[in-house]
């Protein structure tokens, strides 16, 4: 087994046969169909797939903002019944409180947790510095660029010290350069303060660059189409993107996303790791 492959045993996150249907004009629309997935402790997985394949739905279920129609989502072996400070969420639309400054936004969850004003301030300071927004601590969100807003949202999520981070296309609305910078910062932060991360994206490059494991989804019905382990030599830096290993993986993920065989599905739990589906392809 490679070091990247999670050891079966006690996954942080396990999704067990989750199906989610929505009522659309009286008809049941299957957004997620029997999805099973395990994420190991401190694993960084990325989820890619065409629009409408249920990525956000899956994340909302794990965040506790939505409930499966059948099946269950477990975090540390306990069923998810609602949101909790153990899971930090970063939304695609930033979702900063526009009436609060960067500092107050970062302090929001700390206040909920009942920290004193002094503790809040110190903690917030640390995470604001971490994302490089020190000079803008007292600025309102409307004065920030998109990238800065997203950095603020990241600081806010980190501040409550969640051991799991759920990120829904966090860099989707950013320009290529900002996006690459934030990817590197995210990995840098992740390597220093390890978290279990589920990162949704529609960018294949981003998915490969960040992940230990790329989960590819398919639509109609929403399901897991493939799981690709990412084993890359050396640290994840810009140069890596030019390496043949990276290109090879990128192409594999690309064809899994854009040339999907109808009906194919895989089980992404650790139980099923042994006969790896991609090993056949």
């Amino acid at each position: 087994m490679t070091p990247n492959t999670p050891t079966p045993g006690s996954p942080r996150i396990s999704v067990r046969n989750v199906t989610r249907t929505f009522d659309l004009k009286g008809e049941g629309f299957v957004a997620l169909d029997d999805v099973s997935l395990d994420v190991a402790d401190n694993e960084f997985i990325t989820v890619v797939g065409p629009s409408g394949c249920g990525k956000s739905t899956l994340m909302n279920i794990l965040a506790g903002l939505d409930t499966p129609t059948s099946g269950e989502a477990l975090v540390d072996g306990r069923p998810v019944t609602g949101p909790g400070p153990d899971r930090g969420v970063i939304f695609q639309q930033y979702a900063l409180f526009p009436w609060l400054t960067v500092r107050k936004n970062v302090e929001f969850g700390l206040k909920t947790a009942g920290l004193s004003a002094k503790e809040r301030r110190e903690k917030a300071e640390h995470f604001i510095e971490m994302v490089g927004l020190g000079e803008f601590a007292d600025a309102l969100p409307k004065m920030l660029s998109g990238g800065m807003k997203q950095r603020c949202a990241i600081a806010r999520a980190y501040a409550v010290d969640p051991s799991i981070l759920l990120m829904d296309e966090p860099f989707g609305a950013l320009d290529a350069l900002t996006r690459v910078t934030l990817q590197e910062q995210l990995l840098d932060t992740w390597s220093r303060e390890k978290r279990t991360v589920m990162f949704i994206t529609h960018d294949v490059d981003e998915a490969v660059f960040l992940a230990n494991r790329v989960v590819v989804m398919a639509a109609r019905p929403g399901r897991i189409y493939d799981v690709i382990d990412v084993e890359l030599p050396g640290p994840r830096t810009e140069d890596l993107r030019l390496s043949p290993e990276f290109t090879e993986l990128r192409n594999r993920v690309w064809s899994a996303v854009y040339h999907q065989t109808p009906g194919r599905r895989v089980d992404a739990t650790h139980r099923s790791v042994a006969p790896h589906p991609t090993a056949v392809a």
């Binding site: 965040a63 506790g64 903002l65 609602g82 949101p83 909790g84 400070p85 899971r87 930090g88 969420v89 939304f91 639309q93 979702a95 900063l96 409180f97 526009p98 009436w99 609060l100 929001f108 969850g109 206040k111 909920t112 947790a113 309102l140 969100p141 409307k142 806010r156 409550v160």
Partner: protein, 289 residues
């Protein structure tokens, strides 16, 4: 000087880049901003000038009309009457009486409207219970309530305040309700995933997010309260701007009517501006599109 030369050489066009243009280049940011500011203030000055000219012309026309025999008091008559009414204390007493009614009615209306609006926006059951009544009574002009108010409450201050209260209440309640309903779902979700429970979400997300709506409702409500004032003061009042004008009407005293109208107009404008100021202060965080 050294850095200036650097700028010049860096620009790849040594022939055209004189030290003056290099200087201009380095300071582009600043002049552009001041030029913009200057343009803005010039525009504002022009608007102010035009407004002043327009008002002066209006008064001139009024003067002209009154002097060629229209049944109008001249501006001078009105100023004189205004002065007389001020000196003998009538105007002051009327002002106090009217302002008290408006402010009490408006304050009560707002104080009741905000919690009711929140209740309706936050709890579906409250909305179900309250909304039909609000939708129904909203369509009745507050003035149409006057006869009922007199029968029920007599001719004291209560019926007048009730009518003003209703005007302010309906404007504000609808707006507050809209504010709560329109709170961005993702903000509520963001608070929830940070561990915040319902009560906290209400106080820390829903209330601040609704403030802009509430303030708009208050402005509309104040306008409505002010608008119903004069009519409310037709109910056997002893004092007040509306009462004064009605008395003046009996004696064909046009200057007093003019004084009353002008005072009502100016006061309404001042109060609206005050609320606008509060709005700017409290909702400065909004991204203007």
């Amino acid at each position: 000087m050294a850095s200036m030369t650097e700028t010049v050489t860096a620009r790849d066009e040594p022939g055209t880049a004189t030290s003056a243009s290099a200087l201009a280049d380095r300071t582009t940011e600043k002049p552009r901003r001041t030029r913009r500011a200057r343009q803005d203030s010039a525009k504002r000055a022009r608007t102010l000038l035009l407004s002043t000219i327009s008002i002066a012309a209006g008064i001139g026309v009024w003067w002209l009309l009154s002097s060629i025999g229209f049944k109008l008091p001249s501006p001078a008559d009105v100023v004189v009457r205004g002065w007389e009414l001020t000196v003998d204390g009538t105007l002051g007493a009327d002002l106090v009486a009217s302002l008290t009614r408006v402010l009490v009615g408006f304050a009560l209306g707002t104080i009741v409207a905000i919690p009711v609006g929140f209740l309706m926006g936050w709890y579906a059951w409250a909305r179900g219970l309250i909304e039909p009544w609000i939708q129904f009574f909203r369509t009745i002009p507050p003035l149409a309530i006057i006869p009922l108010a007199i029968v029920l409450l007599g001719i004291g201050e209560e019926p007048k305040i009730l009518v003003i209260f209703l005007a302010a209440f309906f404007a504000c309640v609808i707006s507050t309700f809209q504010g709560v309903v329109n709170v961005d779902r993702t903000l509520i979700n963001a608070a929830r995933v940070l561990g915040t429970k319902d009560a906290g979400i209400f106080v820390r997300v829903v209330v601040p997010a609704s403030v802009p709506f509430i303030l708009v409702g208050m402005r509309v409500g104040l306008g409505a309260a002010w608008a119903t004032l004069v009519a409310a003061e037709l109910i056997a009042a002893q004092q007040g701007l509306g009462y004064r004008m009605q008395q003046a009407q009996l004696y064909y005293d046009l200057p007093t009517i003019f004084v009353g109208l002008i005072v009502i107009g100016v006061l309404g404008l001042v109060m609206d501006r005050l609320l606008l100021l509060a709005e700017k202060k409290l909702t400065g965080w909004q991204e203007r599109r």
